[in-house]
């Protein structure tokens, strides 16, 4: 019987597995005819990769209320918010106004900043030189909405 040395003669380096890459199963290699589709194998779709372009600048938030209903944002939906992206005219963004994170559509017109809801029961917030909130910051652009499909 061969006795293995206490310390391995070869240094084994560890693979960094902290950030897993999903790979599909590739046919059976050892015997038989290989699957022709193996030539077309691809990486699995990663939602993180598709939906989050700037991981270090992305946060998520849960919708409370229905002022953005007509844009498809319902109570309990999860919003993906990219803080790296500026909110441009016509886009939906998160704004910090007087101590709250609000979700609105940004409309810029005639030197005014308007934050529009997407529900007729709510009124737009209109700001200009004469009327600005004491605390205002544009947090980031809403890039995706995640909804859980509900049973009727």
């Amino acid at each position: 019987m061969i006795k293995l040395p206490a310390k391995p003669a070869i240094d084994f380096y560890e693979i960094d597995s902290s950030n897993p890459v999903n790979l599909p199963f590739v046919g059976n290699i050892s015997h038989g005819f290989p699957l022709p589709s193996d030539d077309y194998m691809d990486r699995l779709i990663s939602l993180d990769e598709q939906l989050i372009k700037h991981p270090d600048a992305t946060i998520m938030g849960r919708v409370s209320g229905n002022s953005m209903r007509d844009a498809g944002l319902q109570e309990g939906d999860v919003l993906i918010i990219d803080r790296m992206l500026k909110v441009e005219n016509g886009e939906i963004g998160i704004f910090r106004i007087d101590g709250e994170y609000l979700c609105k559509r940004l409309v810029l017109a005639d030197g005014r900043v308007e934050l529009h809801p997407e529900n007729k029961r709510f009124k737009p917030m209109v700001f200009d030189e004469n009327c600005m909130p004491t605390d205002f910051m544009c947090v980031g652009r809403v890039t995706y909405i995640i909804k859980k499909v509900q049973k009727l």
Binding site: A6, R62, G65, L73, V78, R96, C103
Partner: protein, 426 residues
């Protein structure tokens, strides 16, 4: 002055408090304080809380009136949140310079070599704006030809609002002014003992320290570390990343939820702190050769007997094994524990820290190789399955959840159930 090779120090403003504000918009513009473990002392303050004159380390019960009168928001330490935001800030900074090194949870050093055609003031402003936009964390940036000067530049950026959070020391005149402005006690790495000593010699500012003290004196009285600091401040780069990393000690300690003289409880705590400190060592790929344990009674209770005894132990060989360090900590505690006192705290410190690969060979003994593998496996499991998945027999498995965090904010970046609420009621 050589401005081809510049360093930057990026430092987060009031980091823990800023993290809390980023997760709760209600806190913006308010006096906010963050409490230490077990909600003991105020360890971070928003600008508004500093303006109220509340000191760092103040125990809330002593300043209750101020806190109530000013509606100060006090929060428990949310280390999950701070850790994640610290990582995000670091990652974003990495996009600005190829050479970026974390110095502490809220400070990052960067090298800017070959950036002489860049306007560093503009570059710094871009760094600051990007970090703030992406994370909500305000930072200040200091540029200078050496690290110690970058630290000085950062201080200036923090103190003078008109600089817009960015300060560049790139001429002799600016360096001169900055050194005259910096008091000795504010120089990076000069502690209280050295400050007193230098003060007695008439050395009051960084300018005096650089220009009035001969190198031989500094080397003799403040070791090579002091000498490097002096050279660094004079504009000759002498402090490198490795230097500042290696000299640190690791301290692990928390106040007990209640003052106690229960030895079993204290033994468990000492062991656990040693395990935590050992984890930190392994995370930095380092090892230590000496361990100190100290017991502390409550110094606010002048009516009670006080005991602050500490003892150190040299280890047989440098190690980062939780088992070795835990055992050593308990041995020391057995020596210094006295039954007649009510203790508030036990502190475990590791010293003589060196990189794990520079191990000195001991002839007759060596670390059990098995422990090395064991530690690696334990670290892996705890990293993947969450901290405290694997603990040691000498530890109380229920203790991690007992930590008093009565006002913990949402861990909005790491817990699905605690994400931000977006108000759509307006």
């Amino acid at each position: 002055m050589n401005t081809k090779e510049m360093y930057a120090l990026v430092d987060c403003n009031n980091f823990f408090a800023s993290c809390e504000i980023s997760g709760d918009p209600k806190l913006f513009g308010k006096p906010v304080g963050v409490l230490s473990n077990n909600d003991g002392n105020i360890i971070a303050r928003s600008k508004e809380l500093k303006d109220l004159g509340v000191a760092m380390g103040a125990p809330p019960f002593l300043i209750k009136d101020v806190l109530i009168a000013n509606k100060v928001e006090l929060l428990s330490s949310n280390y999950e949140l701070y850790g994640d935001l610290s990582q995000r800030v670091f990652n974003i900074l990495c996009t600005f310079s190829p050479d970026t090194e974390r110095y502490s949870i809220d400070e990052v050093f960067q090298k800017y070599f070959g950036f002489e055609y860049f306007n560093l003031k503009e570059h710094g402003t871009k760094i600051k704006d990007t970090v703030y936009r992406c994370t909500g964390i305000p930072v200040c940036v200091g540029f200078a030809p050496t690290k110690a000067l970058a630290k000085v530049a950062n201080r200036i950026a923090k103190k003078f609002a008109q600089l817009g959070g960015v300060c560049v020391i790139d001429t002799e005149a600016k360096r001169d002014w900055a050194l005259r402005w910096t008091k000795v006690e504010d120089i990076w790495g000069i502690g209280r003992a050295h400050t007193r000593r230098l003060d007695a010699l008439g050395i009051k500012t960084a300018y005096d320290f650089v220009n009035k003290l001969p190198e031989e004196w500094v080397r003799k009285n403040m070791t090579i570390v002091g000498l490097r600091l002096q050279r660094d401040l004079s504009g000759k780069s002498s402090i490198f990343f490795e230097d500042i990393k290696a000299k640190k000690n690791i301290v692990s300690s928390r106040s007990f939820a209640q003052n106690t003289n229960d030895f079993e409880y204290m033994r468990e705590r000492a062991y656990t702190y040693a395990v935590n400190a050992a984890e930190k060592l392994r995370r930095d790929n380092s090892q230590c050769a000496e361990i100190t344990v100290q017991v502390q009674t409550n110094y606010f209770r002048e009516d009670r007997a006080q005991d602050f005894e500490a003892q150190s132990m040299k280890l047989e060989y440098p190690t980062n094994s939780s088992i070795q360090l835990g055992r050593a900590a308990v041995q020391i505690l057995e020596r210094i524990y006295k039954p007649g006192y009510l203790y508030k705290k036990v502190v475990v410190m590791l010293h003589k820290i060196s990189p794990d690969d520079s191990r000195q060979l001991t002839l007759f003994r060596n670390e059990k190789p098995l422990e090395k593998h064991l530690m690696k496996v334990i670290d892996q499991i705890n990293r993947r399955q969450g901290r405290h998945t694997v603990m040691f027999g000498a530890q109380d498995t229920k203790e991690p959840i007992k930590m008093k965090r009565s006002n913990l904010s949402k861990r909005y970046t790491t817990k699905w159930d605690e994400m931000l609420t977006i108000n759509c009621n307006k």
